[in-house]
Assembly symmetry: C2
Homo-oligomer: 351 residues x 2
Amino acid sequence: MDLSALDTPVATVDLDAVERNIARLQGYCDEHALAFRPHIKTHKLPAIAHLQVRAGAVGITCQKLGEAEVMQAAGIRDILLTFPLLGPGKAERFAALAREGELSVAADSAVVARGLSRALAGSGSEAGFLVECDTGFARTGVQTPQEAAELAELVAALPGLRFDGLMTYPTLPGTGPALRAAIDEIRARGLEVGTVSAGGTPTLFTNHEVPEVTEVRAGTYLYGDRACIANGSVPLADCALRVRATVVSRPTADRGILDCGSKALTSDPVEPSGSGHGLIVEYPDAIVYALSEEHGHVDFGSCDERPEVGEVVTLVPNHACGCTNLYDDVAVHRGGRLVGFWPVAARGKVR
Amino acid sequence: MDLSALDTPVATVDLDAVERNIARLQGYCDEHALAFRPHIKTHKLPAIAHLQVRAGAVGITCQKLGEAEVMQAAGIRDILLTFPLLGPGKAERFAALAREGELSVAADSAVVARGLSRALAGSGSEAGFLVECDTGFARTGVQTPQEAAELAELVAALPGLRFDGLMTYPTLPGTGPALRAAIDEIRARGLEVGTVSAGGTPTLFTNHEVPEVTEVRAGTYLYGDRACIANGSVPLADCALRVRATVVSRPTADRGILDCGSKALTSDPVEPSGSGHGLIVEYPDAIVYALSEEHGHVDFGSCDERPEVGEVVTLVPNHACGCTNLYDDVAVHRGGRLVGFWPVAARGKVR
């Protein structure tokens, strides 16, 4: 079946482009002897996680326990959770996962470490722990080498936890020096720092310039999106996730309305802000200037050719991860021929 | 079970507040002899649609065919679809719904009317048709009284379709005069305009000032949100949808990170832009200044008291409809006691 036979809006995934993106990233990491641990938050599809592992990834990264549960249930063995897990409920679910596979977690506080240790020790399982360091992004992460070393020492002493090293996000100009200081401080206290995990798609290809980094994480590289085109990390031809939409109204000469709004594209902005809500491949000069929940508002004023009501167009969304999270399934294809509707198995796993 | 026993993030719905909002709106419409046709896009829950109909609503409004299918399957009889349906696939699904219940649709073009007519006539069913008029919002809708009348005449002549009247969104200062002109032009051509459907939560309580309006549609009033607080349509106490989240990191004295980001709150903005991504009820002076996909970035700098890691807080999201669309289920409660986890049955019905 051809994609043109599908009703709209529909999120489509070009499996050839996915494979190109996997090969490019794995190739980069292999060339620089970096471990690669892709983040499944972008696709949330077990089959693609397996493609990534088969290509050479050491394991995957998840943000949510529910995502890790879906991926372990789908046969993925080695999972890093890069989100602080709090409370006995989450700690017990994490310990249960750690009994069945290789689990590790990143966090920046003793509270999280102690809670996980209790659950792991209670269930007789073990998991790796990476101390999260803020190296310039100002989100989560310890703020100083001393804090990093104190948490590392605590983790090393807690039953059920294994101090594996450091984690940061994303790789920024200050990342190398900040990691170096934390590593030195931890080693000075007699602990080994085995893994140093960094990442993020926009600065992906700078990781080899930071000698402290041993492992790279990235998610969005897999699909690409309008932000990736803007920051140069993925070219338009390799943007695998697209939304097919229909022109449902042409009320004026310039205005067109599509059947994709914020519930089909996300309202995630792309820098510079004000630059619209998606790229229409067939009308690159059109501007998706506003989104209602189900309507995309388009200005075709700069286009020589303009669509009729009923015409189907293809959009590259601003942000692939937010977009795919809205869909229960995606239409996977090769060259426009449908491979199948794949359930976005790990979507909506908020907990 | 108390809500405090639930893991986070979790979307919670206060059923008492929902009932207050339903009573207030239905009371307003009854007082002014306006039909009320609530939009289920906000809640997407069959049980709440039934509450709305039992309270006196003439039927419901859906934006998507898939939403209408869920609601008809749940026993709702009278459904208006306020989105232009294009293509034989959608037309046939619409005709199938029209065989089983009372269906009507709004659109602004002959293409849509002709496609629906073919499918309805082919299946021996009938549906109402409202001509959508743009009365100032500049989205969908015919632009002139002449266009409205021409489409009305076409619809009246097409088999399977019944010309019922006009639809507009939202009710604005120019809505009355624009509707008046369209009604006069249509009546001059010998057609009756039975229904004039207008709506939108922000200007909800102005509909009685527009004598042309016979029916009111609104969705967000049901849950309320930060935008409703800002525009005065729903007070904080009646904001029924809230997201409970945990403080998962306190990296600096001012900064706190919550386990709710754009995938739990939506990145939908609230005017004035720059005013943040949600109201933290327990810390009203805190500012949710940024969202990552799973992290809410909070500045507690203006708060005298500040939370510890592990503390649970309650947020009123910027935009209820976008928020609830992210969750597979919501924790429905009365006074903090869990009624049950209700599946958001019509979420993700993009087509």
